[in-house]
């Protein structure tokens, strides 16, 4: 078994194990978690012949370096970066063969934030509530990668895909997030709703897997009393006391006591996961 494993040589700033997450337990206070850019994670799995629910690595800005103990197929997707095997450049966004003991380096992202690294067989750490995802809010799942850690790999399910380079969306230079207003838009002044949907915000460097934080004009409340805690959804635009809207991502808390002015449409969230600090954001109000 031990030859089906990946040694972590350079963990990078923040590299976590991610799959489709653990939805269905929100009533127990368990966040959904899972890859922040599911289309990129899914593509990486398809390129190496894994099922869509196999666990992959999600890096943050500066990539990671690993050494597989057996010969594997790998694919890096999401944020574009330089990829090398034993120092030799190989393709990003395509299946690559990495011989047993070779050094796979996934370099710093040249654009975007999160690169996904799928390995044939998938990362086979012990699942928690049916998922191998690292949840940074509640601490469920494996810890973020550390230098010297060893990750078990599963048995490859099938042959890798026969493609040269798969097409992928470029990381956003401007993030347009379509939102439907509510459920608590009436807790804000009409002016606040107008400001949210007409002014430009920017991605804050304080953003993380829990939420995309923003910098920009503060939103004023019309109702200032405390909101009793209520259930929160992925993409909820919550407004904390500082008035700066914050978009909930995969590791968001399951209940919260700050009002949600609007909800970002789910198909727009992968781009939010790839938007670097400083990227301009426009919230575009749409009908449901």
């Amino acid at each position: 078994m031990t030859d089906h494993a990946l040694s972590v040589v350079r963990a990078g700033a923040l590299t976590t194990v991610q799959d489709l997450g653990r939805p269905g337990h929100a009533h127990l206070g368990v966040p959904r978690s899972g890859a922040l850019d599911p289309p990129a994670a899914g593509l990486a799995n398809r390129l190496v012949g894994n099922p869509v629910d196999a666990a992959v690595l999600e890096t943050t800005l500066d990539g990671c370096t690993v050494r597989p103990r057996s010969t594997v197929a790998v694919a890096a997707t999401g944020a574009p970066c330089r990829v090398t095997v034993d120092g030799r450049p190989v393709a990003w966004g395509a299946p690559v063969r990495v011989p047993a003991g070779a050094l796979l380096d996934v370099g710093p992202a040249t654009a975007g934030v999160r690169t996904y690294v799928a390995v044939s067989g998938g990362v086979a750490v012990e699942p928690v509530l049916g998922s191998r995802s690292t949840d940074l809010l509640s601490g469920l799942g494996p810890s973020p990668l550390t230098d010297g850690a060893v990750l078990p790999l599963g048995r490859p399910a099938g042959p890798h895909a026969r493609v040269d380079v798969a097409p992928q969306p470029a990381p956003p230079t401007e993030l347009v997030l379509r939102v439907t207003l509510g459920p608590r838009a009436d807790w804000f002044s009409p002016e606040a709703v107008r400001v949210l949907t007409s002014r430009v915000y920017r991605v804050s460097p304080a953003s993380n897997r829990i939420g995309l934080r923003t910098e920009g004009p503060a939103l004023d409340r019309a109702i200032t009393r405390e909101l009793p805690s209520e259930g929160m959804v992925l993409g909820a635009v919550q407004v904390p006391p500082d008035g700066r809207p914050l978009v909930f991502l995969a590791d968001h808390p399951t209940t919260g006591g700050y009002p949600v002015i609007a909800v970002v449409r789910t198909p727009d969230l992968p781009a939010a996961a790839q938007a670097r600090p400083g990227t301009p954001i426009r919230f575009l109000a749409v009908r449901r």
Binding site: A26, T180, P183, G231, P253, T255, V263
Partner: protein, 205 residues
């Protein structure tokens, strides 16, 4: 009852009391168990129930507007007993808020039957109700940076037990050795919405 759309596929149903939220939650669980409701998450909270992952939220909103929600059924499940030492650092502050001597806090708290209104904050953290409203207490003015696992705490109308060490602003009245969350256990959470709870004083002296 008021239904508020949430994004493309969720609905927040708002009612006017915790008891109504409990009844609505029970009714929605019954409908799901009978195959009448397809939904990914049913998340009860203080005055609301969130339904997330619906195929047709508008239709469900229309249905709910026309339907009567029966009162919540009497609690069928057994009572979970949590052994507790009433030794928290905020016991005197809570006693002052309640206007009782400190040892009365333990007597009143242990004499109350609680039920889990909803969960949140952390896996396995239940918001327990049962104390009369005159025993509401404010959060601490300055939250603690680390509250130990097993701390029994009060805030507003709620009692909670910290499943793991974390920052927190609740008033600490005691400690339990019960394991609130263990993902290798089935079920992982000792407390789920609707669970009845009693705190049983233990004496290690």
């Amino acid at each position: 009852m008021r239904t508020l759309p949430v994004g493309d596929d969720a609905l927040l149903v708002e009612v006017s009391s915790g008891e109504e939220a409990r009844a609505l939650h029970a009714e929605l669980l019954r409908r799901r168990a009978e195959g009448l409701l397809a939904v990914r998450e049913i998340v009860p909270a203080a005055r609301t129930v969130l339904l997330d992952g619906l195929t047709d939220p508008d239709r469900l909103a229309a249905e709910l507007a026309l339907s009567d929600v029966p009162p919540a059924p009497a609690h069928a499940r057994d009572v979970v007993q949590l052994p507790v030492r009433y030794d928290g650092p905020d016991l005197a502050d809570v006693a002052a808020h309640w206007g009782v001597p400190p040892d009365e806090v333990a007597r009143i708290h242990a004499g109350t039957e609680f039920s889990v209104a909803f969960c949140g904050f952390a896996p396995g953290f239940g918001y327990l109700t049962g104390l009369p409203r005159r025993y509401d207490v404010p959060r601490r003015a300055t939250p603690r940076t680390a509250v130990p696992a097993g701390a029994v705490a009060l805030a507003g109308p709620y009692t909670g037990v910290y499943p793991r060490s974390s920052p927190g602003g609740w008033q600490l009245i005691g400690t339990t050795d019960a394991v609130l969350w263990d993902h290798t256990r089935m079920p992982a959470a000792l407390l789920a919405p609707g669970t009845r709870v009693r705190f049983v004083p233990v004496d290690y002296s």
